[in-house]
Subunit: 143 residues, 2 copies
């Protein structure tokens, strides 16, 4: 899993004529071994413990590269911070977001996906991406 994503990233770097650097490898390892839906600041703080010399800007730039290479997806859950999640090959899911504790649960629903395509088609739209987020209280926060 990690190996596969590291390879995808390194291949992307090479194909784009970019360089393989110590920082990129450190950030990649930290990202791949972290929880999903990490904000840039969370990842930066986590990194800073072992690597106090890695700059904020480098983390931003590198996460963007991850997204470009296809191993990460940029997400906005309305809390003002961009979050990045891991992306598996050909995988897709949507999210339940707890407004109480911030927990993020992933789900897949083929029927909804199909209906979305139908809606788009009915309006002559060619869908590129979509965002489906259900906000509410998770089982624990409902008390």
């Amino acid at each position: 899993m990690k190996r596969v994503k590291k390879k995808i990233f390194h291949d992307y770097i090479a194909k784009q004529g970019l360089k393989s650097t110590r920082q990129r490898d450190i950030i990649l390892e930290a990202f791949l071994s972290s929880d999903r839906h990490l904000s840039i600041e969370e990842l930066y703080l986590k990194l800073r413990a072992k690597h106090p010399n890695i700059g904020y800007a480098t983390v931003y730039r590198t996460l963007k590269l991850f997204a470009e290479s296809g191993i990460a997806r940029e997400m906005q859950f309305g809390d003002g911070q961009t979050r990045y999640e891991h992306v598996g090959e050909g995988e897709h899911h949507d999210h339940l977001v707890c407004t109480g504790c911030g927990a993020i649960i992933e789900f897949e629903n083929e029927t909804i996906e199909t209906l979305q395509k139908e809606v788009a088609a009915a309006h002559g739209f060619l869908i590129q991406t979509h965002k489906l987020e259900l906000y509410g209280l998770c089982a624990r926060c409902r008390g």
Copy 2:
């Protein structure tokens, strides 16, 4: 329609012990007679023509009040600006957003809404709100 929303807002203002002001009424009228999905800046610029003395901060504060009172909904379509749309009593819709020209099309789909509730229930979630946005190219932009 406008009358109803104005009443809802004035009732809300009163109930909260807030004050009815000239600026709020001006902004309310401008909002209600504007296109849907207006950004704060667009509304501010529109207002400034007739009311050059109304401050930016007041427009921000007032639009938030509209959302709190239930006559408006805050939206983020990923272009970095918050937009506000009109909300009718008990009305709900989702959006198709054209990544080419920025057009926003509204749609309703009861089946999707039902499936969302099922997904939430299956995870013990109590849904408060949700966001479903389909991004792609509109019929015109597909050329």
